[in-house]
């Protein structure tokens, strides 16, 4: 089988020539890498990757195909959102054959349907090394021959990416008597599932929705793509909500928004944390957990005010992984307690938050 050529070109001029799989078409975005060894259906549909080209460090991708679109409680069972969110996917070895009882099509077929291009046959280790050395970079996927042209890729992080992926209208998932407001900044379905499983109703609202006056038992600010400082309206709304004593939980981007609303600062990490094996230590205890992470920004814990504490810290590089208020029920986790894909070590965060609900 003869494969068509496709290449990845980075902003520093380096070219990685490989072959096309998925949709045959050009694309561009911020190039990031994820070290997960399984979970590409969930990873590709994670809205936090909006605007990004994903490099998978694990070399064999596609082995188990892609599952069908089953729905439960009005949420897709096997995907984190309704479409592929990445701008492209770069792998070393794509498996054109797949084998799994739950697969309904191959990754290649799915990517064609969703019009997302992929490149295989490149050395993802070399690309990752470069990204670790230089930091994340902008990149282009060019299918076919490369012509001399200007590298005109806009940095997606200057936009409010959350507004591009969130729901446009409020959606209610009715389950139990208690209801939480889920501020959607690019929410992953597993957060909705986590509350549904615990019999809590969820009102999913757009990222700029004024939720401060809404009647509910608690507010969850979801994960999402990009720079948290771009979510200006969400930060304003969160500040208002913090004046009431309503329980708040921020996940990933949500945790950063909570920090910004409290007056702390955030910064961009060199190449981010995107994996299923990040160790975090719970401050003040002997406990450590393995977590699923996908973030390019972090809270500068030195800027936390008097009433806030560092709750979790990354076991590898010491960056902030969670914050907690000392007297009010406000919590933030930088990692993903809902995982998907990933370990469920920190799923207890949901149980803890449910106990704190009004």
């Amino acid at each position: 089988m003869k494969h068509k050529k496709a290449s990845l070109i980075l902003e520093d001029g380096s070219v990685y020539a490989g072959y096309s799989f998925g949709y045959y078409g050009d694309s561009d975005g911020e190039v990031v890498f994820n070290t997960g060894m399984v979970g590409y259906p969930e990873t590709l549909t994670d809205p936090s990757y909006h605007g990004q080209i994903l490099v998978c460090t694990y070399p064999l991708i596609g082995n188990y195909g892609v599952p069908g679109k089953k729905v439960k409680d009005n949420v897709l069972v096997d995907f984190e959102s309704d479409k592929i969110q990445v701008k492209g996917m770069i792998v070393t070895d794509y498996s054109f054959d797949y084998s799994h009882w739950d697969a309904s099509q191959s990754l290649h077929e799915w990517m064609i349907e969703e019009k997302i291009p992929g490149i295989f046959g490149v050395d993802t280790r070399a690309i990752t090394r470069k990204l670790r050395e230089k930091g994340t970079m902008l990149g282009k996927i060019i299918c076919g021959e490369i012509h001399e042209e200007e590298f005109n890729v806009e940095d997606p992080n200057i936009r409010n990416l959350a507004s591009e992926v969130c729901t446009t209208i409020p959606k209610l998932y009715r389950k139990g008597d208690k209801k939480i407001i889920l501020v959607d900044c690019g929410v992953k379905n597993n957060i909705i599932r986590a509350f549904a499983e615990r019999n809590i109703s969820v009102l999913q609202v757009p990222q700029d929705y004024d939720f401060a006056k809404e009647n509910c038992s608690g507010i969850v600010i979801s994960n999402g793509p990009g720079d948290p400082k771009m979510c200006t309206q969400t930060i304003i709304n969160t500040k208002k909500a913090m004046l009431e004593n309503i329980p708040l939980l921020g996940i990933c981007l949500g945790s950063q928004i909570l920090a910004l609303a409290s007056g702390a600062d955030t910064f961009k990490l060199k190449y981010g944390h995107r994996s299923h094996n990040q160790p975090v230590n719970e401050m003040g205890t002997r406990r450590c957990y393995i977590t699923s992470q996908n973030h390019g920004y972090a809270i500068n814990s030195e800027t936390l005010s008097e009433d806030w504490r560092e709750w979790f810290v990354n076991g590898n590089d010491g960056t902030n992984e969670g914050i907690m208020h000392i007297s009010k029920p406000f919590f933030g986790t930088q990692f993903h307690p809902e995982a998907s894909p990933g370990p469920d070590d920190t799923e207890f965060i949901f149980d803890m938050f449910v106990r704190a609900l009004k």
């Binding site: 997960g36 694990y58 280790r125 230590n281 393995i290 894909p341």
Partner: protein, 391 residues
């Protein structure tokens, strides 16, 4: 930081002479254990009759006794050396069996020798098939439908209840010795006549022939921090012993849901059992649904853990020893990266494959078909970027 309770002199039981199911793999674990203890300034005494292994070299343990791993000899060494603690999990099944004997006969109690790491009660829970099934059920998990039997008559009844074909498994055996699948009563009786010659406990189990065989290496400290360090998938499905199968790390045909579900189940069981240190858990996973069964737990270092350590660069035996002495998982330094802690689940960007090596012409009239009794005498490991490359 361990402020108090650190042992002063530890006795390590090695694995003994080379046999099928017990060979060079334990050389690695024992050596790592000695290094870990020495780093903490603890005196080490090793019993291992194997003169041809690195573990028994001069520069490792403080004192080496080239004696068989048998209760009588170990007792003599205890009397002479007066260790205050003992490590049972670094010499494979042999060391474990002897350790259990020493415990039951109260020899360890008599000489005040503390068992480090996983307690003997927990070890028995994993070795005794009946106790194991009970523990798994208590934790709300599934293991293969089974009945423990002590004679042929009981076995016939159990097999009829479970329905043929059934798997016959021998308790406390090395390398699956004596076990196998039988399709009718005649084959059952034939197998059992041989089995009851060297054991008095046999398990009759539902046959999971053809199910995927997957294993995880799990590590846990005394503060209940528990992680999986490596996942492995056998190319050959259930029915072929893991020692005779081609094994690949990480798992290749599992979706994220399946992988993390088995991971959670393993952690839940290991926490319920109370393992401290390292252990290996094996599952059967249905190829047509997300149904699973827990097949076994080895509360000790094993050949899989030696493979897992080399595949991931995570020194399982070294860390297991530190955990046994009482360290917190996240305070043990990762001696490979030197920058991160041992609370870490390595993400591989390559594939590892283990291929067994046989030497069947050595054994006259042996059946050359592979089954659940291990026949390989060694193995080869390959690391590469694609499956085809490593194969």
């Amino acid at each position: 930081m361990i402020k108090k309770g650190k042992p002063q002199k530890v006795l390590i039981l090695g694995s003994g002479a080379l046999q099928i199911g017990q060979a060079g793999e334990f050389d690695y674990s024992g050596s790592q254990a000695i290094k870990a203890l020495k780093e903490d300034g603890i005196k080490t005494v090793l019993i291992n009759p194997n003169i041809a292994t690195i573990q028994t070299s001069e520069h490792l343990a403080d004192q080496v006794y080239f004696l068989p791993i048998k209760k009588e000899f170990v007792e003599k060494v205890i009397i002479k050396e007066e260790p205050d603690a003992i490590l049972l999990g670094f010499g494979g099944q042999t060391a474990l069996n002897v350790g259990i004997e020493l415990y039951e006969e109260k020899i360890l109690e008599k000489y005040k020798v503390k068992v480090l790491g996983t307690s003997v009660e927990t070890i028995k829970d994993t070795e005794d098939r009946f106790l194991f099934s009970s523990r798994v059920e208590e934790a709300g998990l599934k293991c293969a439908l089974s009945r423990t039997v002590h004679n042929i008559e009981e076995a016939k009844i159990a097999a009829a209840e479970i329905k043929y074909p059934v798997m016959v498994r021998i308790a406390f055996a090395l390398g699956g010795l004596g076990s196998g699948i039988v399709s009718n009563e005649i084959e059952l009786v034939e197998k059992l006549q041989r089995a009851f010659a060297f054991t008095n406990q046999v398990l009759i189990e539902e046959s999971l022939y053809g199910w995927k065989e997957v294993e995880y290496e799990i590590v846990r400290d005394k503060y209940d921090n528990c992680i999986t360090v490596c996942s492995m998938e056998n190319l050959d499905p259930m029915g072929i012993h893991t020692g005779d199968s081609i094994v690949v790390a990480p798992v290749q045909t599992l979706s994220a849901k399946e992988n993390f579900k088995l991971r959670s189940i393993g952690i839940k069981l290991i926490r319920h059992l109370g393992v401290i240190g390292e252990c290996n858990i094996q599952y059967a996973l249905s190829p047509t649904s997300d149904d699973y069964r827990i097949i076994e737990v080895n509360a000790r270092l094993s050949r899989s853990s030696a493979l897992a350590s080399k595949a991931t660069g995570y020194p399982l035996a070294f860390v297991a020893t530190k955990l046994a002495i009482g360290y917190n998982l996240n305070e043990i330094e990762n001696i490979i990266t030197k920058e991160t802690s041992s609370c870490f689940e390595p993400a591989l960007d390559y594939v590892v494959l283990k291929f067994p090596r046989w030497d069947l012409q050595k054994f006259l009239k042996v059946n050359t078909e592979l089954g659940s009794e291990m026949k390989s005498v060694g193995e080869v490991m390959a690391i590469g970027r694609t499956f085809e490359e490593v194969l």
